[in-house]
Symmetry: C2
Amino acid sequence: MTPPKPPSPPPPPVPVPNPSTFDPTSSATHDSTCPFCTISKTYPPYDPSSPPPPSSRSISPSLTSPNPCTFMLLSTPVVIAFLDIMPLSPGHLLLCPRSHRPKLTDVTPEESAELGRYVRVLSAAVSRATGIRDWNVVQNNGAAAAQVVPHCHFHVIPRPELRDKRAERFTSTMFGRGQRDELDDEEGEALAAEIRRAVGEVLKEDEDKSEEEKRAKL
Amino acid sequence: MTPPKPPSPPPPPVPVPNPSTFDPTSSATHDSTCPFCTISKTYPPYDPSSPPPPSSRSISPSLTSPNPCTFMLLSTPVVIAFLDIMPLSPGHLLLCPRSHRPKLTDVTPEESAELGRYVRVLSAAVSRATGIRDWNVVQNNGAAAAQVVPHCHFHVIPRPELRDKRAERFTSTMFGRGQRDELDDEEGEALAAEIRRAVGEVLKEDEDKSEEEKRAKL
């Protein structure tokens, strides 16, 4: 007897953005006071399966100056990801829709699928880049839920093994209390390059596996 | 000037499962010791945009007896959702892939997109059903990250406005410490029916909106 076979929908095409049509001055879907919209407006999309080299101007961390540096990890027409500037642990990153959406319920169905797809890819990538095998995914909606920036975002937070006291501090800090240290620029740049590379690697492995499965069905 | 237009992929077809082909005895993609696999094997898929009536045997909470009752909220060929039996707040629910996947990185790309899609739908539905406007989405991977059941699951946890002390207890309890009360069966049944209804409502609104946008483009 076989399990209930889900009808296999074809994998949606990997979006291959055309950076030359990107208009960084546009703000049609952005909120001018939102720091994540500033990032979204500054960094053009690129093909995540072959990220630009670390020296590329298109991902230069200082483009958001005088605001804090931005260490981009992913930039598609629909979603962006970057390192949290006040990380709870090495590799703590944020994934959000490119457009300004306050809560998860403001996101379109297509964006939500894309967020789901990339939160898995980024989880795998950050685990490879940091060597930390456990992690939390956290997405807060509204002030009572400790949302600080009102632009929907998923935290991916690596969880190194910690002893009791530090683990407790970690958990309470996750929801906005306690001390968080600022990201060091040099470390951020190296880590971001490693995560972008791992994202490309994961996407290629996914594609290879999907091709293999297609062949196996023939 | 216009913003970078993401290439609009067509919305994937809403899976309309055929419950008559569902084989509850199958365990090919399941782990026999996993409580979420027990739920997955017990409850057949249904069309989430028109959920079965509360009296339907196919969603009867006692089908998992002698294990705790299960209050199903969603059951597709790919994902299932149900009320947490030790809720942190009214409406606290879990969403997971139907197949046994220990961590988010074990999930297939297609499953991850489906999880992303439904975590938004369920967020909207639970907010409508409970009237609580703020909520957390939490997904833990591995023991160091407080994952208890090793079958990948997203928590959706409504956050009523709480005063300092209770809010603190809430946060620390979210990661596995402190007291959580058991779900009352009668309340669970009524709330689950309300959430299933709201899921159908949200999906229909999404579909209507998508149709509208298609017409506007013509």
